[in-house]
Amino acid sequence: MEKVCVIGAGSTKYGKLQDSITDIAIQASVDAIENAGIEPKEIQAGYISNVFGIADKQVHLGPVIMSDLGIPEVPSLSIESACGSGSVSFREAYANVAAGFYDAVLATGVEKVTHTGTEWTTTYFSYCSDFFYEGGAGASFPGLFASMARAYLAEFKATEEDLAMVAVKNHDNGLLNPKAHLRKKITVDDVMKSAVVASPLKLYDCCPFSDGASAVIICNEKFAKKHTKNYIKVIGSGRGGSPAALQGREHITTIPSTKLAAQAAYKMAGITPKDVDFAEVHDCFTIAELVDTEDLGFFEKGKAVEAVRQGMTKLNGAIPINPSGGLKSKGHPIGATGIGQIVEVFDQLTGKAGERTVKDAKIGLTHNFGATGASCAVHIFKSV
């Protein structure tokens, strides 16, 4: 297998954007291409992740983006894996470069949904669940994670205030990220007083619906060395699956696909969770970050709450989680999120993260899943 690197990364701001889905996808792609210092003609394939292109009247995004980049002859793959689309797409790009099919490829994730309104997004997002049992019985996505939260709070004697601390921490980080959607300092009290969306989760426990696009250039090491000194290596890539419906899981407070993906990625990288300097994890709701950090092996089962109380996951903590602000504050344009996490790791490990830089970081991990973790991908990166 070829060694695989990321040599360029770009992102639009996340939030309510005016430009079209193709416009923002192109903006992020061009940003990544220029950041890598390559020409579009050097790209041999495109991996485009998106879920609700239909909301902005453009599906089959791949060929449109390739054409707009002046390379219509280059093959592309348009990928949907719910909120995990970005990392799953990255994995396919990684696998094809590792296998030697291509020297350099583009992975772009994009979403444009805020113009549709809360009812449309709540309804269409529910189609990502196992619909016969979940969305089709009235479950919204906040509702599914709220069900995980209720089970977690009961099992591990945690409180709604503990959940709120995750949101406060991620908002603190997002304040330092110029591209974050919700750049606003909040308190535990603000979270507790925000409107209940799906008990026990309140509005400030939930990530926002966001528009946005992120892109990275993935290549083999020979190509990387030829173009730049400013690159990072992919040292681990893992994937996993879970029963699609929550009811199919023996333990509702853990996500099997995260564990499987993490084990595979750690094994490939030859490291343990202790070696990771920081992680971007899938905190679509506050409860998710607690579950994720346990499933990824940073904390024992049920101990993430204590870690958050002690500030271990803050930017200056023992294991900073979501220095970008996470889905909670940076935003969650679902097709772009998994790629956006990799953009953050690239920026962190190449000295471009500004005020939110994790000190002395060499190894960063990304964790991104679809729906309630039915599909998941974990990647581990190392600076050169």
Partner: protein, 134 residues
């Protein structure tokens, strides 16, 4: 999918989603029991998740159990606007290692539904599988 279900159910003499919905209306859960290892599945599974076997037999379970977890929805997806607030619940069925989720009307606050509350399946309509307190 209809065709696949038809062929599969013919060959293996299995009842499908339509019968699952009918059985829910009479308070039962139509499940599939692996003929090789005995593992139980809901009706939407075609290969045993435990041993990979393809053969199942139809089993009708009593739709009674207790609340494993739930949420009370106040911001609903389309079609549920008039039901708010309502609960979406995961219930553990009595006597078997199987959970099933569904819709519960008239739940206002968490004090209405402590974890472990005894519940039963009472029907199926446009709101999905219907569950009520026993």
């Amino acid at each position: 999918m209809q065709a696949v279900q038809f062929i599969y159910s013919k060959v293996y003499n299995l009842l499908t989603k339509e019968e699952f919905i009918n059985s829910a209306k009479s308070g039962k859960v139509l499940a599939r029991k692996c003929t090789k290892c005995g593992h139980l599945h809901l009706v939407t599974t075609y290969f045993c998740q435990n041993c990979g076997n393809k053969g199942f037999e139809n089993v009708f379970l009593d739709g009674k159990g207790s609340i494993a977890t739930y949420t009370i929805i106040t911001v609903p997806p389309a079609g549920y606007e008039k039901c708010v607030p309502y609960a979406w619940v995961v219930m553990k069925l009595d006597g078997v290692d199987l959970r099933i989720s569904g819709f519960m009307a008239n739940i206002q606050s968490p004090s209405d539904l402590p974890l472990g509350t005894r519940v039963k399946i009472t029907g199926y309509d446009e709101r999905g599988i219907l569950i009520e307190k026993m």
